[in-house]
């Protein structure tokens, strides 16, 4: 045991080894934080006023009011649910060919570019902005909402399907091709069994997302429970708002639970 070891200090090595870079990152982060908080404009008087209202809202969760606006709530919920179902079915159906076309290993280049373009456009904009445009085109109501959700579904599902298709086991495709299969036979025997279970699982997941989104796009007039919710906030009817939010949470929980079961059975 060498005596020289005694008294040697030890500090853990820093995460970023280069000291210049380390201090630049810390300094930059600190500067940003100072600027961001400095330019934050808050009307504290209004916030303090809001605390009372905030408490009223929290209290409303203990005593949600389902009855006084039940007609509007149920109408909005049915609109949301029907929109969700139709949008998911339509979106998934369209995403199948788009996804196939966007898989580089299966589609020729021009088709690939077109389909990737569709996916990029669909994924770029938040749903609510798309909803504004579709409301403008189709008029107020759930049809515009349905088209919005279907549009978003296409981008989501087609992208994931294309990625799965690009990752398939080529050996299985080779084997079926070696047996003399045509292109459609190739799809059904070699490709479909590899991607279908996950695709169905994702569709169920997208159904869940679409329902949550359907609660939002009503704010801009695209139908569904969002409009009812918005109105209840405007009227400060927190009991009704709480009731709607609880319904949404309940339905999402149920959807997650059942989609968990469905996905387990598919595997």
């Amino acid at each position: 045991m060498s005596a020289g070891v005694t008294g040697q200090r030890w500090r853990p090595p820093p995460l970023i080894v280069n000291p210049w870079l380390r201090w630049a990152i810390y300094g930059g982060g600190g500067l940003y934080l100072a600027l961001a908080l400095g330019t934050l404009q808050v009307n504290w008087g209004r916030v303090a006023e809001g605390l009372v209202r905030g408490w009223a809202f929290v209290a409303a969760f203990g005593n949600p009011d389902f009855s006084s606006r039940w007609g509007e709530i149920s109408e909005g919920m049915i609109e949301s649910l029907t929109m969700t179902v139709v949008a998911t079915v339509v979106g998934v159906a369209i995403s199948l060919p788009v996804g196939l076309g966007a898989a580089r290993n299966l589609a020729p280049l021009p088709v690939y570019l077109v389909c990737r373009g569709i996916i990029a456009v669909s994924r770029s904009f938040p749903e609510i902005i798309v909803a504004i445009l579709f409301v403008k085109m189709f008029g107020f109501g759930p049809l515009a909402g349905m088209v919005t959700l279907a549009f978003a579904t296409i981008g989501f599902m087609a992208k994931l399907l294309a990625e799965d298709l690009e990752d398939i086991d080529e050996a299985q495709v080779e084997a079926v091709r070696a047996a003399g299969a045509s292109w459609p036979q190739l799809m059904v025997y070699a490709v479909q069994p590899q991607v279908l279970p996950r695709f169905i699982g994702l569709s169920v997941y997208r159904l869940d997302i679409n329902f949550r989104e359907s609660a939002v796009i009503g704010i801009v007039g695209a139908g569904g429970i969002g409009a009812t919710l918005n109105t209840s906030f405007d009227r400060y009817e927190f009991g009704t708002s709480a009731a709607i939010l609880l319904l949404i949470i309940g339905i999402v929980m149920m959807a997650e639970y059942s989609s968990g079961i469905i996905r387990k059975r598919l595997q």
Binding site: M1, S2, V5, T6, G7, Q8, R9, W10, R11, P12, P13
Partner: protein, 276 residues
Amino acid sequence: MLRIRGLTKTYRGGDRALDGVDLDVPRGQLMALIGPSGAGKSTLIRCVNRLVEPSAGTIAVDGAAVTGLGGGALRAARRRMGMIFQEYALVERLTVMENVLSGRLGYVGFWSSWLRRFPQKDVDAAFRLIERAGLGGMHDKRADQLSGGQRQRVGICRALIQDPALLLVDEPTASLDPKTSRQIMRLLVELCAERQLAAIVNIHDVALAQMFVQRIVGLRAGRIVFDGTPAELTTGMLTEIYGAEDWAATSAAGDDEDDATPQARAIAARLAEEAR
């Protein structure tokens, strides 16, 4: 030093892993625990530091009961028992130094451990141990960059920096090649001798055990069926511990070293010795 009386462990589902085990290990003794897979070796050492809760029986270290302790008293008791694991069980994303110093966690408060401000004497001890284990200069390497043998050396340092009275060693060489296995066993023996530690070593490789320890205990189906010196471990005893097996046939196959299991190799070696 370590005193176990009537130790019984029944797992949920009714599996009886240990059945009335009585065992004493005096200070300074290196004891090997052998037996087939599922005999309860791992359960036995985990009962000693209460990572597994015993169903019945008592365990005492230096006359102080370990069974029945809770909370802070249990943590204080665990400090006195260093444990070394089969798959090293290092915290992969921490450095060698942090892994070694984690052996001091039972002694320092939360904030000093969180901020990595260990007392200087702990840091000194850690540097000495790292040097002693042949890892000098590697203290700032991350554990996942080390080889198997190096990781196990870090594991040994972590156990020893606890300043334990007793070492619990669970299959220290099962994941290592034969040469490294011997180096690790030699290091363990030397360190135990230097510090007069009692140690229980679970081990599969009977030959390796015979080479290094003073006492061997054989466990079968949760009961002790052999307790003696390495020399007393005869073929008949091995049959008693591991069950009936055509040892002669194994010995013939044992010439082909690469295919033989450590167990088979050990038994072949014994037979060769007896034939002389």
